[in-house]
Symmetry: C2
DNA sequence: AAAAAATTCTAATCTGGATTAAAATAATTC
DNA sequence: GAATTATTTTAATCCAGATTAGAATTTTTT
Protein backbone atom coordinates (compact mmCIF):
# COMPACT_ATOMS: atom_id res chain seq x y z
CA UNK A 1 0.00 0.00 0.00
CA UNK A 2 2.99 2.27 0.46
CA UNK A 3 3.40 4.69 -2.47
CA UNK A 4 7.15 4.59 -2.33
CA UNK A 5 8.81 1.21 -1.92
CA UNK A 6 11.20 2.84 0.53
CA UNK A 7 8.31 3.69 2.78
CA UNK A 8 7.10 0.18 3.24
CA UNK A 9 7.07 -1.11 6.77
CA UNK A 10 9.49 -3.83 5.81
CA UNK A 11 11.98 -1.38 4.33
CA UNK A 12 11.73 0.94 7.29
CA UNK A 13 12.19 -1.81 9.83
CA UNK A 14 15.07 -3.24 7.90
CA UNK A 15 16.70 0.16 7.83
CA UNK A 16 16.28 0.48 11.58
CA UNK A 17 17.95 -2.88 11.79
CA UNK A 18 20.91 -1.80 9.72
CA UNK A 19 21.40 1.24 11.92
CA UNK A 20 21.22 -0.88 15.06
CA UNK A 21 23.67 -3.34 13.57
CA UNK A 22 26.05 -0.59 12.48
CA UNK A 23 25.97 0.80 15.98
CA UNK A 24 26.78 -2.55 17.52
CA UNK A 25 29.49 -3.43 15.03
CA UNK A 26 31.21 -0.08 15.50
CA UNK A 27 30.88 -0.27 19.25
CA UNK A 28 31.65 -3.88 20.05
CA UNK A 29 33.32 -5.13 16.92
CA UNK A 30 31.95 -7.71 14.56
CA UNK A 31 32.75 -10.82 16.52
CA UNK A 32 31.80 -9.06 19.72
CA UNK A 33 28.23 -8.44 18.65
CA UNK A 34 25.78 -11.28 18.56
CA UNK A 35 22.53 -11.09 16.69
CA UNK A 36 20.91 -10.88 20.08
CA UNK A 37 22.76 -7.62 20.74
CA UNK A 38 21.31 -6.16 17.57
CA UNK A 39 17.86 -7.56 18.30
CA UNK A 40 17.91 -6.14 21.82
CA UNK A 41 18.35 -2.63 20.47
CA UNK A 42 15.16 -3.14 18.48
CA UNK A 43 13.26 -4.88 21.25
CA UNK A 44 13.10 -7.96 19.11
CA UNK A 45 14.20 -11.56 19.34
CA UNK A 46 17.31 -12.60 17.50
CA UNK A 47 15.26 -15.01 15.46
CA UNK A 48 13.12 -12.14 14.19
CA UNK A 49 16.08 -10.67 12.38
CA UNK A 50 15.97 -13.59 9.99
CA UNK A 51 12.77 -12.25 8.60
CA UNK A 52 14.78 -9.35 7.20
CA UNK A 53 18.12 -10.88 6.33
CA UNK A 54 19.23 -14.30 5.28
CA UNK A 55 22.03 -14.44 7.88
CA UNK A 56 24.62 -12.44 9.77
CA UNK A 57 26.91 -12.22 6.78
CA UNK A 58 24.18 -10.57 4.76
CA UNK A 59 23.48 -8.19 7.61
CA UNK A 60 27.06 -7.03 7.51
CA UNK A 61 26.95 -6.80 3.75
CA UNK A 62 23.87 -4.60 3.82
CA UNK A 63 25.45 -2.37 6.46
CA UNK A 64 28.42 -1.87 4.19
CA UNK A 65 26.30 -1.16 1.14
CA UNK A 66 24.41 1.38 3.18
CA UNK A 67 27.65 3.03 4.27
CA UNK A 68 28.95 3.04 0.71
CA UNK A 69 25.72 4.62 -0.53
CA UNK A 70 26.05 7.41 2.00
CA UNK A 71 29.59 8.08 0.91
CA UNK A 72 28.58 8.10 -2.73
CA UNK A 73 25.72 10.50 -2.08
CA UNK A 74 27.93 12.83 -0.10
CA UNK A 75 30.40 12.93 -2.94
CA UNK A 76 27.76 13.49 -5.56
CA UNK A 77 26.34 16.46 -3.67
CA UNK A 78 29.81 17.86 -3.20
CA UNK A 79 30.59 17.57 -6.89
CA UNK A 80 27.28 19.14 -7.84
CA UNK A 81 27.60 22.06 -5.47
CA UNK A 82 31.31 22.81 -5.29
CA UNK A 83 33.01 25.13 -7.72
CA UNK A 84 36.71 24.46 -7.42
CA UNK A 85 38.25 21.08 -6.67
CA UNK A 86 39.19 22.26 -3.21
CA UNK A 87 35.65 23.35 -2.52
CA UNK A 88 34.39 19.97 -3.64
CA UNK A 89 36.81 18.22 -1.30
CA UNK A 90 35.70 20.35 1.61
CA UNK A 91 32.03 19.82 0.84
CA UNK A 92 32.55 16.10 0.46
CA UNK A 93 34.24 15.87 3.83
CA UNK A 94 31.46 17.86 5.44
CA UNK A 95 28.66 15.85 3.89
CA UNK A 96 30.24 12.51 4.52
CA UNK A 97 31.04 13.36 8.11
CA UNK A 98 27.51 14.63 8.47
CA UNK A 99 26.05 11.30 7.47
CA UNK A 100 28.42 9.50 9.84
CA UNK A 101 27.70 11.54 12.95
CA UNK A 102 24.26 12.76 11.94
CA UNK A 103 20.82 11.41 12.51
CA UNK A 104 20.51 8.95 9.68
CA UNK A 105 22.29 6.83 12.16
CA UNK A 106 25.74 5.42 12.46
CA UNK A 107 27.38 4.03 9.37
CA UNK A 108 29.25 0.80 9.74
CA UNK A 109 33.00 1.00 9.56
CA UNK A 110 34.09 -1.47 6.90
CA UNK A 111 36.36 -3.61 9.02
CA UNK A 112 35.27 -7.04 7.93
CA UNK A 113 35.07 -6.92 4.17
CA UNK A 114 37.35 -9.96 3.87
CA UNK A 115 34.97 -12.15 5.83
CA UNK A 116 32.12 -11.47 3.45
CA UNK A 117 31.32 -14.23 1.02
CA UNK A 118 33.01 -13.74 -2.36
CA UNK A 119 30.08 -12.26 -4.24
CA UNK A 120 29.35 -9.74 -1.50
CA UNK A 121 32.99 -9.00 -0.91
CA UNK A 122 33.57 -8.26 -4.55
CA UNK A 123 30.52 -6.02 -4.69
CA UNK A 124 31.65 -3.97 -1.71
CA UNK A 125 35.22 -3.76 -2.94
CA UNK A 126 33.92 -2.50 -6.25
CA UNK A 127 31.91 0.23 -4.53
CA UNK A 128 34.91 1.09 -2.43
CA UNK A 129 37.26 1.32 -5.39
CA UNK A 130 34.88 3.45 -7.38
CA UNK A 131 34.53 5.79 -4.45
CA UNK A 132 38.28 6.18 -4.08
CA UNK A 133 38.70 6.73 -7.78
CA UNK A 134 36.09 9.45 -7.81
CA UNK A 135 37.73 11.18 -4.88
CA UNK A 136 41.10 11.08 -6.56
CA UNK A 137 39.48 12.56 -9.65
CA UNK A 138 38.29 15.49 -7.56
CA UNK A 139 41.79 16.00 -6.26
CA UNK A 140 43.16 15.96 -9.79
CA UNK A 141 40.53 18.44 -10.90
CA UNK A 142 41.58 20.66 -8.01
CA UNK A 143 45.21 20.43 -9.02
CA UNK A 144 44.23 21.30 -12.58
CA UNK A 145 42.17 24.31 -11.57
CA UNK A 146 44.89 25.49 -9.19
CA UNK A 147 42.85 25.22 -6.00
CA UNK A 148 44.87 22.27 -4.74
CA UNK A 149 48.64 21.98 -4.58
CA UNK A 150 50.24 19.30 -6.65
CA UNK A 151 50.36 16.06 -4.67
CA UNK A 152 50.20 12.31 -4.84
CA UNK A 153 46.45 11.91 -5.17
CA UNK A 154 46.48 8.25 -4.19
CA UNK A 155 48.23 8.91 -0.88
CA UNK A 156 46.35 12.11 -0.21
CA UNK A 157 43.09 10.32 -0.87
CA UNK A 158 44.03 7.49 1.46
CA UNK A 159 45.05 9.94 4.16
CA UNK A 160 41.83 11.93 4.07
CA UNK A 161 39.51 8.97 3.73
CA UNK A 162 41.32 7.14 6.50
CA UNK A 163 40.66 9.99 8.85
CA UNK A 164 36.98 9.95 8.00
CA UNK A 165 36.65 6.19 8.10
CA UNK A 166 38.16 6.09 11.55
CA UNK A 167 35.67 8.50 13.09
CA UNK A 168 33.21 5.83 14.23
CA UNK A 169 36.00 4.33 16.30
CA UNK A 170 36.06 7.28 18.67
CA UNK A 171 32.76 9.04 18.10
CA UNK A 172 30.00 7.61 20.24
CA UNK A 173 27.03 9.85 19.67
CA UNK A 174 27.78 12.95 21.71
CA UNK A 175 26.25 15.77 19.71
CA UNK A 176 28.62 18.39 21.11
CA UNK A 177 31.44 16.37 19.68
CA UNK A 178 29.54 15.82 16.44
CA UNK A 179 29.39 19.55 15.93
CA UNK A 180 33.08 19.92 16.56
CA UNK A 181 33.91 17.22 14.05
CA UNK A 182 31.66 18.87 11.53
CA UNK A 183 33.34 22.23 12.07
CA UNK A 184 36.91 21.07 12.26
CA UNK A 185 37.42 18.14 9.92
CA UNK A 186 36.89 19.94 6.63
CA UNK A 187 39.41 22.54 7.75
CA UNK A 188 41.97 20.20 9.26
CA UNK A 189 41.92 17.81 6.34
CA UNK A 190 41.93 20.36 3.58
CA UNK A 191 43.78 23.48 4.60
CA UNK A 192 47.00 21.68 3.91
CA UNK A 193 45.93 21.48 0.33
CA UNK A 194 45.92 25.21 -0.35
CA UNK A 195 48.83 26.18 -2.52
CA UNK A 196 48.77 29.83 -1.48
CA UNK A 197 47.29 30.17 2.01
CA UNK A 198 46.18 33.44 3.45
CA UNK A 199 48.95 35.27 5.30
CA UNK A 200 46.60 36.52 8.01
CA UNK B 1 70.85 -19.05 28.71
CA UNK B 2 69.91 -16.01 26.68
CA UNK B 3 71.56 -12.84 27.98
CA UNK B 4 68.59 -10.71 27.22
CA UNK B 5 65.15 -12.05 28.14
CA UNK B 6 63.92 -10.69 24.81
CA UNK B 7 66.26 -13.02 23.00
CA UNK B 8 64.90 -16.21 24.41
CA UNK B 9 63.51 -18.68 21.91
CA UNK B 10 60.12 -18.41 23.55
CA UNK B 11 60.04 -14.63 23.29
CA UNK B 12 61.16 -14.68 19.69
CA UNK B 13 58.64 -17.28 18.65
CA UNK B 14 55.89 -15.45 20.46
CA UNK B 15 56.82 -12.27 18.68
CA UNK B 16 56.67 -14.06 15.33
CA UNK B 17 53.25 -15.23 16.41
CA UNK B 18 52.07 -11.73 17.18
CA UNK B 19 53.21 -10.51 13.80
CA UNK B 20 51.46 -13.40 12.06
CA UNK B 21 48.32 -12.71 14.04
CA UNK B 22 48.45 -8.99 13.30
CA UNK B 23 48.77 -9.78 9.63
CA UNK B 24 45.76 -12.08 9.69
CA UNK B 25 43.61 -9.76 11.76
CA UNK B 26 44.34 -6.81 9.51
CA UNK B 27 43.83 -8.85 6.39
CA UNK B 28 40.83 -11.00 7.20
CA UNK B 29 39.32 -9.30 10.19
CA UNK B 30 39.13 -10.67 13.68
CA UNK B 31 36.21 -13.00 13.25
CA UNK B 32 37.47 -14.00 9.85
CA UNK B 33 40.75 -15.36 11.15
CA UNK B 34 40.83 -18.63 12.98
CA UNK B 35 43.74 -19.70 15.10
CA UNK B 36 44.48 -22.16 12.34
CA UNK B 37 45.02 -19.25 9.94
CA UNK B 38 47.61 -17.81 12.29
CA UNK B 39 49.18 -21.20 12.92
CA UNK B 40 49.42 -21.90 9.19
CA UNK B 41 51.54 -18.81 8.67
CA UNK B 42 53.97 -20.22 11.21
CA UNK B 43 53.80 -23.80 9.93
CA UNK B 44 52.38 -24.83 13.25
CA UNK B 45 49.25 -26.51 14.51
CA UNK B 46 46.57 -24.33 16.01
CA UNK B 47 46.95 -26.16 19.29
CA UNK B 48 50.61 -25.15 19.44
CA UNK B 49 49.62 -21.52 19.81
CA UNK B 50 48.29 -22.31 23.25
CA UNK B 51 51.80 -22.87 24.40
CA UNK B 52 52.38 -19.16 23.92
CA UNK B 53 49.05 -17.60 24.78
CA UNK B 54 46.23 -18.55 27.07
CA UNK B 55 43.57 -18.08 24.37
CA UNK B 56 42.53 -16.05 21.35
CA UNK B 57 41.48 -13.10 23.45
CA UNK B 58 44.93 -12.88 24.94
CA UNK B 59 46.46 -13.13 21.49
CA UNK B 60 44.50 -10.09 20.40
CA UNK B 61 45.40 -8.30 23.60
CA UNK B 62 49.11 -8.91 23.07
CA UNK B 63 48.85 -7.72 19.48
CA UNK B 64 47.32 -4.51 20.71
CA UNK B 65 49.92 -3.98 23.40
CA UNK B 66 52.58 -4.52 20.80
CA UNK B 67 50.98 -1.95 18.53
CA UNK B 68 50.64 0.49 21.40
CA UNK B 69 54.28 0.03 22.32
CA UNK B 70 55.36 0.82 18.78
CA UNK B 71 53.29 3.98 18.81
CA UNK B 72 54.72 5.01 22.15
CA UNK B 73 58.28 4.41 21.00
CA UNK B 74 57.71 6.37 17.81
CA UNK B 75 56.39 9.28 19.81
CA UNK B 76 59.23 9.17 22.31
CA UNK B 77 61.85 9.28 19.56
CA UNK B 78 60.00 12.14 17.90
CA UNK B 79 59.90 14.12 21.12
CA UNK B 80 63.55 13.46 21.81
CA UNK B 81 64.73 14.42 18.35
CA UNK B 82 62.36 17.14 17.20
CA UNK B 83 62.96 20.78 17.98
CA UNK B 84 59.67 22.54 17.37
CA UNK B 85 56.26 21.06 17.98
CA UNK B 86 55.68 20.81 14.27
CA UNK B 87 58.91 18.95 13.79
CA UNK B 88 57.94 16.54 16.53
CA UNK B 89 54.60 15.90 14.86
CA UNK B 90 56.27 15.20 11.54
CA UNK B 91 58.84 12.91 13.10
CA UNK B 92 56.18 11.07 15.04
CA UNK B 93 54.17 10.45 11.90
CA UNK B 94 57.24 9.23 10.07
CA UNK B 95 58.37 6.91 12.84
CA UNK B 96 54.98 5.50 13.53
CA UNK B 97 54.25 4.91 9.86
CA UNK B 98 57.66 3.33 9.59
CA UNK B 99 56.84 0.77 12.24
CA UNK B 100 53.50 0.03 10.58
CA UNK B 101 54.77 -0.55 7.06
CA UNK B 102 58.33 -1.48 7.99
CA UNK B 103 59.99 -4.74 8.72
CA UNK B 104 59.15 -5.20 12.36
CA UNK B 105 56.03 -6.57 10.85
CA UNK B 106 52.48 -5.42 10.63
CA UNK B 107 50.91 -3.82 13.66
CA UNK B 108 47.38 -4.85 14.49
CA UNK B 109 44.73 -2.27 13.87
CA UNK B 110 42.81 -1.93 17.13
CA UNK B 111 39.38 -2.80 15.87
CA UNK B 112 38.24 -5.14 18.59
CA UNK B 113 39.11 -3.46 21.84
CA UNK B 114 35.53 -3.80 23.08
CA UNK B 115 35.60 -7.57 22.82
CA UNK B 116 38.60 -7.84 25.08
CA UNK B 117 37.92 -8.99 28.60
CA UNK B 118 37.53 -6.05 31.02
CA UNK B 119 41.01 -6.11 32.51
CA UNK B 120 42.66 -6.23 29.09
CA UNK B 121 40.26 -3.76 27.58
CA UNK B 122 40.95 -1.26 30.33
CA UNK B 123 44.68 -1.71 29.97
CA UNK B 124 44.59 -1.09 26.22
CA UNK B 125 42.25 1.86 26.58
CA UNK B 126 44.60 3.34 29.11
CA UNK B 127 47.55 3.00 26.73
CA UNK B 128 45.45 4.46 23.98
CA UNK B 129 44.34 7.45 26.03
CA UNK B 130 47.83 8.19 27.22
CA UNK B 131 49.07 8.09 23.66
CA UNK B 132 46.40 10.53 22.50
CA UNK B 133 47.08 12.83 25.40
CA UNK B 134 50.78 12.91 24.64
CA UNK B 135 50.10 13.68 21.02
CA UNK B 136 47.79 16.51 21.93
CA UNK B 137 50.49 17.82 24.24
CA UNK B 138 52.86 17.97 21.30
CA UNK B 139 50.30 19.90 19.31
CA UNK B 140 49.87 22.35 22.17
CA UNK B 141 53.60 22.76 22.46
CA UNK B 142 53.70 23.50 18.75
CA UNK B 143 51.00 26.10 19.11
CA UNK B 144 52.90 27.66 21.98
CA UNK B 145 56.19 27.80 20.11
CA UNK B 146 54.47 29.16 17.00
CA UNK B 147 55.27 26.26 14.72
CA UNK B 148 51.66 25.08 14.60
CA UNK B 149 48.59 27.20 13.94
CA UNK B 150 46.03 27.45 16.68
CA UNK B 151 43.57 24.60 16.40
CA UNK B 152 41.35 22.20 18.28
CA UNK B 153 44.00 19.75 19.41
CA UNK B 154 41.50 17.01 20.21
CA UNK B 155 40.00 17.02 16.73
CA UNK B 156 43.33 17.54 15.02
CA UNK B 157 44.78 14.67 16.98
CA UNK B 158 41.90 12.40 16.06
CA UNK B 159 42.17 13.36 12.40
CA UNK B 160 45.88 12.64 12.15
CA UNK B 161 45.85 9.47 14.20
CA UNK B 162 42.83 8.18 12.30
CA UNK B 163 44.71 8.49 9.07
CA UNK B 164 47.61 6.54 10.47
CA UNK B 165 45.47 3.92 12.16
CA UNK B 166 43.66 3.22 8.92
CA UNK B 167 46.80 2.49 6.92
CA UNK B 168 46.79 -1.27 7.58
CA UNK B 169 43.36 -1.42 5.97
CA UNK B 170 44.74 -0.60 2.55
CA UNK B 171 48.46 -1.30 2.82
CA UNK B 172 49.28 -4.90 2.09
CA UNK B 173 53.04 -5.09 2.09
CA UNK B 174 54.06 -3.59 -1.24
CA UNK B 175 57.36 -1.89 -0.49
CA UNK B 176 56.96 0.62 -3.33
CA UNK B 177 53.80 1.78 -1.66
CA UNK B 178 55.46 1.71 1.75
CA UNK B 179 58.01 4.20 0.51
CA UNK B 180 55.32 6.47 -0.86
CA UNK B 181 53.45 6.44 2.43
CA UNK B 182 56.63 7.21 4.27
CA UNK B 183 57.36 10.13 1.96
CA UNK B 184 53.90 11.57 1.70
CA UNK B 185 52.10 11.11 4.99
CA UNK B 186 54.21 13.40 7.14
CA UNK B 187 53.72 16.12 4.55
CA UNK B 188 50.05 15.58 3.85
CA UNK B 189 49.11 15.36 7.49
CA UNK B 190 51.20 18.22 8.75
CA UNK B 191 51.61 20.91 6.15
CA UNK B 192 48.16 22.12 7.00
CA UNK B 193 49.48 22.92 10.43
CA UNK B 194 51.93 25.58 9.33
CA UNK B 195 50.68 29.04 10.25
CA UNK B 196 52.92 30.81 7.73
CA UNK B 197 53.70 28.48 4.85
CA UNK B 198 56.40 29.12 2.35
CA UNK B 199 55.21 31.16 -0.63
CA UNK B 200 57.35 29.22 -3.09
C1' DA C 1 -15.14 -9.99 11.47
C1' DA C 2 -13.29 -13.77 8.86
C1' DA C 3 -9.48 -14.82 5.95
C1' DA C 4 -5.05 -13.92 4.38
C1' DA C 5 -0.65 -12.07 4.84
C1' DA C 6 2.97 -10.22 7.50
C1' DT C 7 5.64 -10.21 11.55
C1' DT C 8 7.49 -12.09 15.77
C1' DC C 9 8.27 -15.61 19.16
C1' DT C 10 9.50 -20.17 21.45
C1' DA C 11 12.15 -23.94 21.54
C1' DA C 12 15.10 -26.60 19.41
C1' DT C 13 19.14 -28.00 16.62
C1' DC C 14 23.48 -27.34 14.50
C1' DT C 15 28.24 -25.99 13.93
C1' DG C 16 32.77 -23.91 13.22
C1' DG C 17 36.25 -23.01 15.58
C1' DA C 18 38.12 -22.45 20.33
C1' DT C 19 39.88 -25.10 23.81
C1' DT C 20 41.88 -29.15 26.39
C1' DA C 21 44.36 -33.60 27.57
C1' DA C 22 47.62 -36.52 26.83
C1' DA C 23 51.07 -38.40 23.96
C1' DA C 24 55.03 -37.62 20.89
C1' DT C 25 59.01 -35.23 19.51
C1' DA C 26 62.84 -32.06 19.93
C1' DA C 27 66.16 -29.47 22.53
C1' DT C 28 68.98 -28.85 26.70
C1' DT C 29 71.15 -30.02 30.74
C1' DC C 30 73.84 -32.86 33.67
C1' DG D 1 73.68 -40.60 26.50
C1' DA D 2 70.31 -40.51 30.14
C1' DA D 3 67.36 -37.42 32.29
C1' DT D 4 65.00 -33.29 32.17
C1' DT D 5 62.76 -29.65 30.13
C1' DA D 6 60.68 -27.32 26.17
C1' DT D 7 57.89 -27.55 22.19
C1' DT D 8 54.54 -29.48 19.07
C1' DT D 9 51.07 -32.75 17.67
C1' DT D 10 46.98 -35.76 17.57
C1' DA D 11 42.57 -36.49 18.76
C1' DA D 12 38.90 -35.34 21.33
C1' DT D 13 35.56 -32.30 23.65
C1' DC D 14 32.98 -28.18 24.25
C1' DC D 15 30.23 -24.24 23.58
C1' DA D 16 28.47 -19.63 22.38
C1' DG D 17 26.02 -18.07 19.22
C1' DA D 18 24.09 -18.74 14.48
C1' DT D 19 20.43 -20.88 12.34
C1' DT D 20 15.89 -23.32 11.62
C1' DA D 21 11.01 -25.06 12.19
C1' DG D 22 6.87 -24.31 13.43
C1' DA D 23 3.54 -22.06 16.40
C1' DA D 24 1.62 -17.69 17.94
C1' DT D 25 0.42 -13.09 17.25
C1' DT D 26 -0.38 -8.97 14.95
C1' DT D 27 -1.69 -6.40 10.84
C1' DT D 28 -3.98 -5.93 6.51
C1' DT D 29 -7.27 -7.11 3.19
C1' DT D 30 -11.80 -8.23 1.55
Amino acid sequence: MARNPDETRFQLQRDRMLRAAAYCFNQKGYSGTSLKDVADRLSLTDAALYYYVRNKEELVYLCYVRAADAGRDAMQCAIDEGQSGLEQVQLYIRYHVESIVGENGPLAIMSEIPSLKPAHRDAVLELSRTHSARFEAILERGIADGSIASCDVRMTGNAIMGSINWIPKWFHGDQQVAQKILDQFPIILSCGLKPVPQVS
